[in-house]
């Protein structure tokens, strides 16, 4: 079977959404696969909405992800998951971190209505075949707050849809970071994986 998997990661600038995408892409290259990614990057995106697109394939793949074609949505934050879910195909899987980060630019009168996490999650559940929800920040906080992105990747791997072995991914973490930080991220990955496998 030809490999052709499209993944969309969505989050808030500073959560490591683009970094997660490029680590994932690097691990796919280690498996001998081809990749194309695009991410809203740079300091200029701090605190803003950020999307990262990762396409992994063996022969023919795509570099431009069209709306309604992605296999997996990794939502690092529920508002951003809703913003980017239009890229997911109907029978795709959404993995969503339930920890809300309300934009600080939201005015007084809208704050309450826009903070309804269930409302956001219901919208995704209603539109797509499968939605996995958990609080990735809670898990990350037990390790290091900066590991939320890798906890979410662990959850994404647990769906079995990513054509990279968990061992290769962990090795990529070891190759990308200093030993202490790599180990921390491996723990985050495993915790995310275990939390969501079978869900």
């Amino acid at each position: 079977m030809a490999v052709d998997v499209k993944i969309v990661l969505a989050g808030v600038g500073g959560q490591g959404t683009v970094l997660a995408g490029s680590i994932l892409a690097s691990s796919a290259i280690k498996e001998g696969l081809s990749v194309r990614t695009y991410g809203d990057m740079g300091m200029a995106r701090r605190g803003g909405s950020v999307g990262s697109f990762v396409n992994i394939f063996d022969k023919k793949g795509t570099s431009a992800t069209a709306e309604g074609t992605a296999d997996l949505l990794v939502g690092m934050e529920p508002i951003e998951a809703v913003r980017y879910c239009r890229y997911l195909k109907k029978d795709g899987i959404a993995i969503v971190n339930s920890y809300l980060i309300l934009p600080s630019t939201v005015g007084k009168k809208d704050r309450k209505a826009l903070s309804d996490v269930d409302n956001l999650l219901d919208f995704i559940k209603k539109n797509f075949k499968k939605t996995i929800v958990f609080d990735a920040n809670k898990i990350a906080c037990e390790i290091d707050s900066l590991t939320t992105n890798v906890v979410m990747l662990g959850a994404a791997f647990s769906t079995g849809k990513i054509p990279v072995s968990t061992e290769t991914f962990k090795q990529t973490l070891r190759d990308s970071f200093a030993p202490k930080i790599a180990e921390m991220n491996i723990e985050a990955f495993e915790r995310g994986y275990d939390e969501c496998s079978g869900k």
Binding site: I23, G42, G47, G68, I79, E80, L102, P103, N137
Partner: protein, 635 residues
């Protein structure tokens, strides 16, 4: 920018960001000089070159602005070394003059101007299409379809420039620079490493007597290039089609067009040609393609550049092919598979593919649930305190009655002072404009004027308008927001920092010294996170007649926290004491740090986000004094 591996061995396959791939292409093309001024989406090109400068004998610098960067690269070319100058699209405006001059002289060594246009305006204020600039400056354009093509074309652009003795523009966009792909590294060309200035005043001095002669030579040179581009592999007829209609894709749209062909199941029925050199265009190939099709659709982002040229070529060749483009595809913003498929569907009288219709429906419904999330100043950022202080001074001195303080600002992170709840940015044009605009306003309005400009922007373009303000007797206050780095583009060095791009120590030039030397009537320096001192200094400055400069200095919080983390130092954390808090929400409504979280009616501070600046503990932000430093061992 994870795992950069531009320094690998030839034949190695690795993940490279588009901008890294471009940098690698230039390395393989044998450059020995690279200059730039940081700007999205170009910054990573020089960043990457700096990281491997020693290995490949490259002299790399962050210049004070794009004009200087262009002059540095041109000097290398004059001395026989291959060079590259890279910048964001709008930076080309600043670099325009040296290139307009140099293009007449021609070059002996390959020189490439990288224009990283921000199609979609991800972080720029215009969608400027620099293909138009290139044509005016007689710069042949190389425009890649993606990171892989960019890697290949960057080297080819250097070779081409050297072959024809003409500087070349390498035009990329945000979509290319910030995409990545698995790329196989190629060998590095050996070129001259030591520059030699061969005196030729009849060439390097563009007095009209010389320039007139060079003008004629330039036209002749371009005519030869025009005939040559047909031979380049970057232009190609991919399929002829059955003659009904054909599509011409330009640069980054090539992959998008392929997706749209798939979505609409157009297969080989429709002709497809790709263009990698939009100026000059490959005329023979275009002649063949136009002759073979009744109608041709040009897919290109922003302006109808190729489309218009095609009409002129068709006219010259007496072809009656109908040429379409902007009549069926958008002129503004990026063109994705959805836009192309929808445009083609309308053109063919079909319904757009169902996945796009479903996605549109989902997006229409989703919009009521998702508030916009623009980038905002980080928790702990000194700029927030500075803007809050300006607003406080306006209140303290009761200036609202007089129409309030007018607050021109500039290009940088601090433009985000525009956002709610600060609303402390009234105008923003271009690099350095805060001071120029303030200077002009002061002659025509009675309001007090306090403008804000960052440190790197001050060095880039803030000094001439400051001199102008003093010389022309303006009455303004300039607040320089000095976070000791070029923060917005990823922490590049500048003349105030005391370190070069290559990490060598150099003279650090204090902004206050420059302001004094420019003749400012008063100059003060305060810590950006010392709200009391900042308000006091600003109140004093506002009362002074003439040009007063306040430098608000504190290292960028992201760098600060990063350094502390590395050293294992604790980052202080602040929390709201709910017993004392009277739920007035002033902290959120006036200061608006993103670490404040509202749950039901209670505000608390997200300790994972708090960077410990402690400004919210100040009475001006929390009159109840309910915010205090807390012990926190978690994340």
């Amino acid at each position: 920018m994870a795992i950069p591996n531009v320094a690998g061995k030839p034949g190695e396959r690795t993940l490279l960001l588009g901008n890294e791939a471009i940098a690698r292409g230039f390395i393989e093309g044998g450059i020995h000089v690279a200059a730039s001024y940081p700007g999205t989406p170009a910054s990573e090109i020089l960043f990457t070159l700096i990281s491997v400068a020693d290995k490949y004998d490259i002299y790399a610098e962050w210049s004070t602005n794009e004009k200087v960067a262009a002059e540095v690269a041109i000097s290398a070319a004059m001395s026989g070394l291959r060079s590259v100058v890279s910048m964001k699209g709008v930076g080309v405006n600043v670099a325009s003059e040296p290139f307009q001059a140099f293009t007449y002289m021609g070059t002996d060594a390959g020189i490439v101007l990288v224009s990283a246009d921000d199609v979609g305006m991800h972080s720029s204020h215009t969608e400027q299409d620099n293909r138009l600039f290139a044509r005016e400056a007689y710069l042949p354009i190389f425009e890649p379809p993606g990171p892989k093509g960019a890697h290949e074309m960057a080297k080819a652009a250097l070779d081409y420039s050297e072959k024809w003795g003409q500087p070349v523009m390498f035009r990329t966009t945000t979509r290319i620079g910030h995409s990545s792909a698995d790329i196989t590294l190629g060998p590095v060309t050996k070129t001259k490493k030591k520059g030699e200035f061969k005196r030729a005043p009849e060439r390097w001095v563009n007095l009209p007597v010389n320039a007139r002669r060079m003008r004629l030579a330039l036209i002749e040179r371009m005519e030869k290039i025009r005939k040559d581009v047909d031979r380049l592999p970057f232009n190609k007829i991919i399929s002829k089609g059955d003659g009904e209609f054909g599509v011409i894709s330009c640069g980054v749209t090539h992959n998008v067009v392929r997706e749209a062909f798939k979505a609409l199941d157009l297969g080989k029925r429709v002709g497809l040609m790709k263009i990698g050199t939009p100026y000059p265009l490959p005329r023979k190939m275009i002649n063949r393609f136009l002759s073979a099709n009744e109608k041709v659709i040009v897919v290109e982002e922003t302006e109808a550049f190729v489309e218009t040229c095609l009409r002129s070529i068709a006219h010259e060749l007496s072809l009656d092919t109908r040429i379409h483009g902007k009549d069926i595809l958008p002129q503004a913003f990026e063109i994705g598979p959805r836009e192309v498929a929808t445009g083609f569907s309308n053109f063919l009288g079909r319904k757009p593919p169902s996945n796009f219709r479903t996605a549109d429906k989902i997006w229409n419904e989703a919009q009521s649930l998702v508030p916009p999330r623009p980038p905002v100043l980080c928790p702990g950022c000194g700029h927030r305190t500075a803007f809050f202080a300006i607003n406080q001074v306006e209140k303290n001195l009761k200036l609202k009655k007089e129409g309030g303080i007018v607050k021109p600002s500039d290009i940088g992170c601090y433009t985000l002072g525009y956002q709610s709840p600060l609303h402390a940015v009234d105008t923003n044009f271009c690099m350095g404009s805060s001071i120029g605009v303030s200077s002009g306003l002061s002659h025509v309005i009675d309001n007090r004027i306090v403008c804000t400009i960052g440190d790197s922007t001050f060095f880039h373009s803030g000094i001439p308008p400051l001199l102008n303000a003093v010389y022309n007797k303006a009455d303004i206050n300039v607040l320089v927001l000095d976070n000791s780095t070029t923060a917005m583009t990823g922490f590049q060095t500048h003349p105030g920092v005391g370190v070069t791009a290559m990490g060598e120590e150099t003279k650090g030039i204090p902004i206050e010294d420059v302001a004094k030397a420019c003749g400012a009537d008063s100059v003060a320096v305060v810590d950006s996170l010392d709200l009391d001192a900042l308000v006091k200094a600003l109140e004093k400055a506002v009362k002074i007649k003439g040009v007063s400069v306040v430098v608000a200095r504190h290292p960028c919080v992201l760098l600060d926290v990063r350094t502390k983390r590395k050293k294992g130092e604790k980052i202080p954390k602040y929390q709201i004491d709910q017993e004392i808090c009277n739920k007035c929400q002033l902290c959120m409504n006036l200061f608006g740090c993103p670490a404040f979280r509202l749950e039901d009616d209670e505000i608390d501070i997200d300790l994972a986000l708090c960077n410990g600046c402690g400004v919210c503990a100040n009475e001006m932000v929390c009159p109840q004094l309910a915010i205090k430093e807390v012990d926190f061992d978690g994340c």
